[in-house]
């Protein structure tokens, strides 16, 4: 369920108060982690990690029991990738627990999170639960999550990926993937027209103008879906943060969300609207039609996360596939910043009667081989170091390179979900033809003031 992958991004309010990843060094550690998990070099640890998780048969447990997993993205989909992944990690798990039955509660969409909260609040959630970084502060402070610090997987977590799942020095979840948003482009269209990926803001505008002149929409729009509009704004905001610690400064009150930084972002979005870069159907499309415009070559570029290359290639399979490319959204001086984070976290319900079994299931779900099956064709990038995947899409190679080479930070770590909803809403106002007024951002500032108490205090 890709839709969910994006919602994540739209509502990221990550938690990171870990030692070893001080709040004043977010950008550096984020980049470091991106580099390590996206690196092409084979890690000798990969097979070790896998071996450790699939415990040898002599320690096997033959008791019959049922363990439950709830998620929004473990259901069968038409490509059969998820099913193959499930079978792979079930096999790993059953080496240790011969007679285990794994039961899945899968609910697609935003509704899954509504339901999960109700289940946790009434101690009726599944043994193993998947959720998003934005939920972690609330779930840990309420005592819903078991401490996973002793899982051997934790040693494969580094930098931002570790910060994201750590709360008061303990690890409460394992990130399944690492993701960032940027610009994906139609490789053939670029090559046929002699266009190379732009490195600066002005170059980007020139590329957009060129396609517009040819009657091709520069950027596919899909802003009928709220998560797409707030994700798009978020992708723009990173370049306008005046410093890597911008979000901490907002928390401490020295910067404001209605200040010059966010105004700059919305000025850029206004410019995109004024020049018609998103096309006339941007507000009519949901994210399916947005992708279709990109796949049909009616739009040259699309702003989204890691999943695009694998997804459009598989959707275009009957027409010979589709090659894409990726570049970070450029800024003025050619040194953009990416917001890096995970879309899917796996944790253990603190109230489970099967604590060890649940922890072992989390380990099996992150087994290197199983994860490779899940990730390879779907364009998911593993968050654990040492899992090395050779992607077939050129766009994914671009993506890995961008992750490794670009400055990044855990964007949205100190921003409540309601603020991103306000951003998305303001963006749709621009798209509906109203001209941006800096006073609009006061609403973001108010939402921030009201929901600030949901955030973990930075720099502990």
């Amino acid at each position: 369920m890709r839709k969910k992958l994006g919602v994540v991004i739209a509502s990221m309010l990550l938690l990171g108060t870990a030692a070893g990843c001080g709040s004043n060094d977010k950008a550096g550690s984020g980049a470091e982690s991106s580099a390590s998990s996206a690196s092409q070099q084979a890690s000798p640890n990969a097979s070790d990690t896998g071996g450790e998780q699939s415990a040898p048969a002599d320690g096997a447990d033959s008791e019959a029991f049922t363990i439950t997993v709830s998620s929004w993205n473990l259901a069968d989909e038409p490509l059969g990738i998820v099913k193959a992944y499930r079978e792979a990690f079930e096999n790993v798990y059953k080496q240790k627990y011969l007679n285990a039955t794994i039961k899945y509660n899968n609910t697609p969409g935003d509704k899954y999170f509504d339901l999960l909260k109700a289940q946790l609040a009434s101690a009726s959630a599944a043994d193993v639960i998947q959720f998003q970084p934005s939920h972690l502060p609330m779930f840990t402070t309420a005592g819903f999550l078991a401490d996973l610090s002793d899982l051997s997987l934790v040693s494969s977590l580094e930098g931002a990926m570790k910060t994201e799942v750590t709360y008061q020095d303990k690890v409460y979840a394992i990130p399944f993937d690492i993701s960032t948003n940027g610009v994906w482009y139609n490789r053939k269209l670029f090559e046929d027209n002699g266009v190379t990926p732009p490195a600066t803001w002005d170059e980007l505008l020139a590329v957009a103008d060129k396609f517009k002149g040819m009657g091709i929409t520069p950027f596919a729009g899909g802003f009928k879906d709220a998560w797409v509009s707030s994700m798009t704004v978020k992708t723009f905001t990173m370049n306008d943060y005046s410093s890597p610690t911008f979000e901490e400064e907002v928390y401490n009150g020295s910067k404001k969300l209605n200040g010059p930084e966010m105004q700059a972002t919305f000025d850029k979005l206004q410019l995109f609207y004024d020049r018609g870069y998103f096309g006339p159907d941007a507000m009519s499309n949901g994210w399916d039609l947005q992708r279709k415009a990109f796949e049909d070559g009616k739009a040259a570029m699309i702003i989204h996360g890691s999943y695009i290359a694998g997804l459009v290639n598989s959707e275009m399979q009957d027409k010979g596939g589709m090659e894409t490319g990726f570049f970070p959204l450029p800024n003025d001086d050619g040194a953009p910043v990416l917001s890096v984070g995970s879309d899917t976290l796996t944790g253990v319900n603190a109230k489970t009667p099967n604590l060890q079994r649940a922890k072992d299931l989390v380990a099996a779900m992150h087994d290197a081989e199983a994860q490779t099956i899940r990730d390879k064709d779907a364009g998911v990038f593993p968050a654990l170091k040492g899992i090395d995947i050779e992607y077939k899409e050129l766009g994914n190679h671009d993506f890995q390179r961008a992750l490794a080479e670009t400055d990044s930070l855990l964007g949205g770590q100190y921003v409540p979900a309601s603020v991103y909803d306000v951003y998305g809403k303001l963006f749709t106002k621009i798209m509906a033809g109203k001209t941006f007024d800096p006073a609009w951002l006061d609403e973001a500032d108010q939402a921030y003031a009201q929901d600030k108490s949901l955030l973990p205090p930075p720099g502990q």
């Binding site: 946790l120 879906d225 009519s284 609403e443």
Partner: protein, 292 residues
Amino acid sequence: MYAGKKNGLVEWLFVAPALIPFLIFVVWPFVSSLYYSMTRWNGFTSPVFIGFDNFGRLFREASFVAALSNTIVFTLAGLLISNVLSLLLALALNRAGRSKAVLRTVFYLPGVVSFVTMAVVWSSIYHYYGPINEILIRLGLESWTREWLGNFDTVMAALIIIMVWSGVGFGVIVFLAGLGSIPADLYEAADLDGAGAFAKFRYVTFPLLMSSVTIVTFLGLTTSLKIFDLPFLMTNGGPGDASTTLAMLIYKQAFSYSNYGYASAGGIVLFVLVGFISLLQIKATRGREVQL
């Protein structure tokens, strides 16, 4: 005819099966939300009592005010259009003869289909490359084309059309039923008095239809004041806050932002609003009803 203690017990036993589930699943959640509305509570940890702060915050917030006014627009427009349109249709159908049954079916049909399934179709109808714009272009009215749901001027009208489409059939049937129950001799008497068609409508039909008006209005009120699915599925309240309703705002605050106490306060305001308007309406229309 029935009296005594024993009979009192029997009567309570008769109402208990309907009353008990109602108390547990309707009254109790509502009463507990009265308490939660005065707390800061995320649904998990213990609620913190904060008095009436949530209510003050509601009326300070621009999005709440926008949601309130959108809800009122939905309600007024919905009531006016569905009452007038369904009455006109019922009057026309009442004389339509053989095609009456078929037409009645056609107008009621949208009401029996789930909105989960129809949202897909309506989105494609209002799409920029959808049939409405295509027809406009063929008529040479290209300047009229727009994104119907992505535009401040048209989004509410577009949603109200869907609301009327799915709700008008109920009104038609109620009015048809009302028309069918008016005795023919009243019209004959009016004919003898030399009344014209309009006079007959004004002095016979309309007064006798007041109880139908009460039903259509009450149900229209309670559904449109609580309207949720339609904007939630079609526009998610956008663009901006242009189609956000109170029920949507409450849902989002409760489930997306975990501001459960604040959402409960919104729920109380909505309850008071619906209750107050319904009482007004019942007073207004009931007073005009004529009993045969």
